[in-house]
Amino acid sequence: MDFGNILSLALGEIVTPTTAAYALAALGLAVHFGYSGLLNFGQAGFMAVGAYGFAISTLTFKVPFVVGLLIALLSAVIFGLLLGVPTLRLRADYLAIVTIAAAEIIRYIVTTNTLFRITGSADGLSTFQREFDSFNPFPPGTYIFGWSNRDFYVRVVSWLVVILCAVIVWLLMRSPWGRVLKGIREDENAVRSLGKNVYAYKMQALVIGGILGALAGLLFTLPRGSVQPANYATELTFFLWTVLLLGGMSTVLGPIVGAMIFWVVLSLTQNLLAGLIESGAITFLSIVQAGQLRFILVGIALMLLMIFRPQGVFGNKKELAFA
């Protein structure tokens, strides 16, 4: 078993575009839940809306990249409004139910065979990333960890987007606007009694977090060059919640570091188990079972975390004392 290789694979996970996508989507959840108290269990739906919004407008309507990007974000805004208008006046749990259902509805819609020519059904869509690739400023060659120029390009773009969004969220949350959101999280009637339009603030938070989700959907699909409905199932949402809990809910760095930890742990357990199985040290597991086992391990890790460090890696222990 090559520990050096296993370790470098794990470290490589830290900067993959997928990690960036998870970080960004979880940042959206932080805006929803960590700062505003909105229970969104449909972040996978926002990601799907972003990814499909871009892919469909590029492939079916042949729009340029920037227009596709704007359509993706606009779709997320509309999706957020559709979810928010009926639910945000109600109790918090209604939003949870509606978002989880809406995300599934999106997934079923893009999977139906009737829409095969637009959505590609279960096969999904591909080759919508060509224009994005054409912006690659890096000449062919190998970069840092033996990445190709495209690998390097998608990583640079992904993390620039994450950093930009993180800075914006940080700026927003330290502003009086962010203060109103945190107040709503604590007690929305108290905030109402102080003359703030709680409904409008919740809507803004839902839409902003949703936009981050849609952008994350793009970061998730552009490097792959394909989008498939199976990638946007409910478990994605729960992985994002795991990431959020890992890192700490009401912080900006939390979701980012949470995503890194999540993927490093997944990669380590996967490759360690595979190595042990190959070397004959473990005989009672197949490689496929090992792949499933690692998610069990993630679950256990999360439980341990909740017991010993419930505020997450970056969370504020003091805040939790009053939960």
Partner: protein
Amino acid sequence: MSGTNGQNPDNIDYMTDTRAIAVGENLPGCKKRDPIVVADNVTRNFGGISAVDVEHLEIPRHKITALIGPNGAGKTTLFNLLTGFDTPNSGSWTFEGNNIAGVSSYKVARMGMVRTFQLTKVMGKLTVMENMRLGAANQPGERLSKALFKNIWGGREREITKHADVLLEKFKLDTKKDDYAASLSGGQRKLLEMARSLMVRPKLVMLDEPMAGVNPALTQSLLDHIKNLKAEGMTVLFVEHDMNMVRHIADWVVVMAEGRIVAEGPPAEVMKDPAVIDAYLGAHHDVDLGDAEGIRELEAELEADEESIVGTEDAGIIAPEAIEARLEEEEGK
């Protein structure tokens, strides 16, 4: 403090204004010389019971009005209805002449009608100072479009902070300003909520049992503070069970029982009203339990009262001797 400020065109000192509050007799639902809130036929039923059934009520402007009544009389429910936190079964009401029935609660607050809650609502995971700042109005940084630019909202933020500092000091919370509100004691939360409601300089402030759980020494200074709100041109409506407090600061008392207004008038007059005594105060209301003299009076009355255990051997710690001994001990300190 003088009553001369921008909100007072007539140059009247509201602290010493002795003009009659009511027009005509002091009957339940009577008309006021200068009402700030006028409510008509406001009803609210919960299941079968009618929690609020107010035919007509006017709250006098620039006065301190106490709303009293037994538990479950409908005081909090009336507050909720007037401020848009609950929807009535029927009724309409105006604030400064504007019809605000059905207007959402945040708009009511923006118009200058700010309330506090009987069960205090503080934002636990925000600091005391952030709670205070949240109370302020006209902070451009609360708009999403301006939130990113500190140069736009930074100036207003400093003004707000200064104002908050002054209020926190008055409410004896200045040492706590960087603590999480969740770490405050029950009484301190009441104080914070009241201070926060004053951040907007409301026209009418509605306090639901503001002094419940606040220690006597601080109550005294806060009472003075509430009185002074009048000088600043504010109107106060508060719910309170402590008759001493009502007597000390209220210009006007409204008594509710079983959802209805049963009596209205100046404190001294209302407390002599048989309907009020019957509904609320009980027979021994005029006894000041704060001094030994009052206790002896009460003792005499209670001993004559057949249903009372005072004067029998069951009296225990409520026996006058026991109470007097404790009072003397306290005075000695």
